[in-house]
């Protein structure tokens, strides 16, 4: 235990009233579970889970030069991104290391709306504040809470409140009136399921949270299940699976490198990143199916079939959906081929593992039929 003073989200009292077990995460006092991690995990895969993610950082970057300045630090093409769309990207340091991963979109016609990780937000905002010059302005939206609703029944629940949300496809976003107040909303999330993330004014968060929970299809879900859900979906957790030393190529996140931006090579760390794309990285993030024994968690060593240590697990645990243990970690590219037999070492015991494709559990995002 530490004596760190934890911050709270505006939904803290609501979590306590629901009987949540609270833990410190990203500097916040957050619910790790309500009913139990496994039950919450399964509920989200089968129905709709409600998550308080208000600890995450929300901001707007506005001004005539907002996008070109933002693009100095991210490798996605935001200039061509259409209004009403968002895109996953990476905040890169000068060495091409991943300072944070983020979602940035154009919900309105006023620059970019950006969501970053809780544990990095102070550093991210300080960095952007220092780097942005005339023509681009950072506005931190600390007057807003963030609520995610995820699962196969999430869309039905939300469409009952606002029919226009049926028109949204995966990664569509908008600023609109929901529950009678000014919200940002996107059809996205961190579970591999269909669903939405809704940014709401702090003053209305508890009312909206409670309103959504009135629907029998919706249950509150803690950070424990959020972690196991994102692991199954193959989504990296910053500070664990990727960090400020890791490049997007090492992190197996090359999909976040837009073609036009690679050609222009005009973003932080472009030299290193383009070189790694051409020559291959020294290590790369892979998915592992652990075939026996205990869960292989962060820090467990990965060995080749002969027992030589070649890498480390960065996150791992049981997959409630698959009924077996899964993990992510880094290995040299020579060992990254799907089907490669490896070992993970847990408490001194080597257990068989195999490189498998991620996501471990198929993502079920809602993609609109092409018009």
């Amino acid at each position: 235990m530490t004596d760190e003073i934890l911050k709270t989200t505006v939904l803290n009292a609501a979590h306590r009233a629901l009987g949540a077990r609270m833990v410190g995460f990203g500097g916040y006092d957050m619910p790790v579970q309500y009913e139990g991690v496994l039950a919450e995990h399964r509920w989200t895969r089968e129905h709709a889970g409600l998550f308080d993610v208000s600890h995450m950082g929300q901001c707007k970057i506005t001004g005539p030069d907002a996008i070109s300045q933002f693009e100095r630090f991210v490798p996605g093409d935001y200039a061509i991104l259409k209004a009403g769309k968002q895109k996953y990207s990476l905040l890169l340091n000068a060495e091409g290391g991943i300072m944070d991963d983020l979602m940035a979109g154009k919900p309105d016609h006023d620059g970019l709306y950006v969501v970053v990780n809780a544990g990095n937000k102070d550093a991210d905002f300080a960095f952007l504040q220092a780097e942005l010059v005339e023509g681009a302005t950072l506005k931190i939206l600390d007057d807003r809470a963030l609520i995610a609703i995820q699962g196969p029944e999430a869309a039905e629940v939300m469409i009952r409140h606002e029919p226009v949300l049926a028109e949204f496809g995966f990664m569509d976003c908008a600023r609109l009136m929901l529950f009678g107040v000014d919200c940002y909303i996107s059809r996205s999330g961190y579970t591999g399921e269909d669903g939405y993330e809704i940014s709401v004014p702090n003053a209305d968060a508890e009312r909206i949270w409670s309103t959504l929970l009135e629907d029998a299809r919706v249950k509150p879900i803690g950070l424990g299940a959020r972690d196991s859900l994102r692991l199954e979906a193959g989504l990296p957790l910053h500070g664990h699976d990727i960090d400020d030393q890791t490049s997007p190529v090492q992190g197996a996140l090359t999909f976040a490198l837009s073609k036009s931006r690679k050609e222009a090579a005009n973003f932080n760390g472009a030299d290193r990143i383009l070189k790694e794309l051409a020559d291959g990285p020294d290590r790369v993030r892979v998915g592992l199916s652990v075939k026996e024994g205990a869960p292989a968690r962060e820090g467990a060593e990965i060995a080749d079939a002969d027992g030589n240590v070649i890498g480390k697990v960065t996150s791992g645990g049981p997959s409630p959906t698959l009924g077996r243990n899964i993990a992510m970690g880094y290995v040299p590219p020579a060992f990254a081929e799907l089907g490669t037999d490896l070992k993970v070492i847990v408490r001194g015991k080597a257990a068989a593992a195999e490189v498998v494709a991620t996501p471990f559990v198929a993502q079920r995002y809602y993609r609109k039929p092409k018009a």
């Binding site: 991690v37 039950a39 424990g224 972690d227 205990a294 869960p295 968690r297 645990g317």
Partner: protein, 121 residues
């Protein structure tokens, strides 16, 4: 039944102690997904980590409440770890240990003392 401050319980029959984790510990861990129990013949010292219990989130050590030789580990937990949540102080036992030094039993908490300890947490 006797208890430790590490939330293990001990049931003594003759010179054999059956050991498990308390309901309080099982509830605090949440869903147990993996248990590693010791093999028969293993010598354990009081306070040694002799088993591991894992929830979805984390792995925790289980400490031997007494010294002795493991007579039997509960192998059933390998395939049914959820038994630890369902019946922590019964079918969810971890191991039976042949007690080396009976005086160590006297150092353990009785039910009233353990209950009082829980309220102090």
């Amino acid at each position: 039944m006797k208890f430790t401050k590490d939330h293990e319980w001990v049931r003594v029959e003759g010179d054999v102690a059956t050991v498990g984790i308390t309901k309080h510990a099982a509830d605090a861990l949440g869903d147990v997904v993996f248990v590693e129990t010791p093999e028969a013949g293993k010598t354990v010292g009081k306070g040694d980590s002799f088993a591991v219990v894992e929830s979805v989130k984390a792995a925790s050590d289980v400490y031997a409440p007494v010294s002795g030789e493991v007579v039997e580990g509960n192998d059933a937990l390998a395939t049914a770890p959820e038994t630890v949540n369902a019946d922590p102080e019964g079918a969810g036992w971890f191991a039976k240990i042949r007690i080396k030094d009976a005086s160590q039993i006297d150092d353990l908490l009785d039910q009233a003392a353990y209950d009082e300890y829980l309220t102090s947490l």
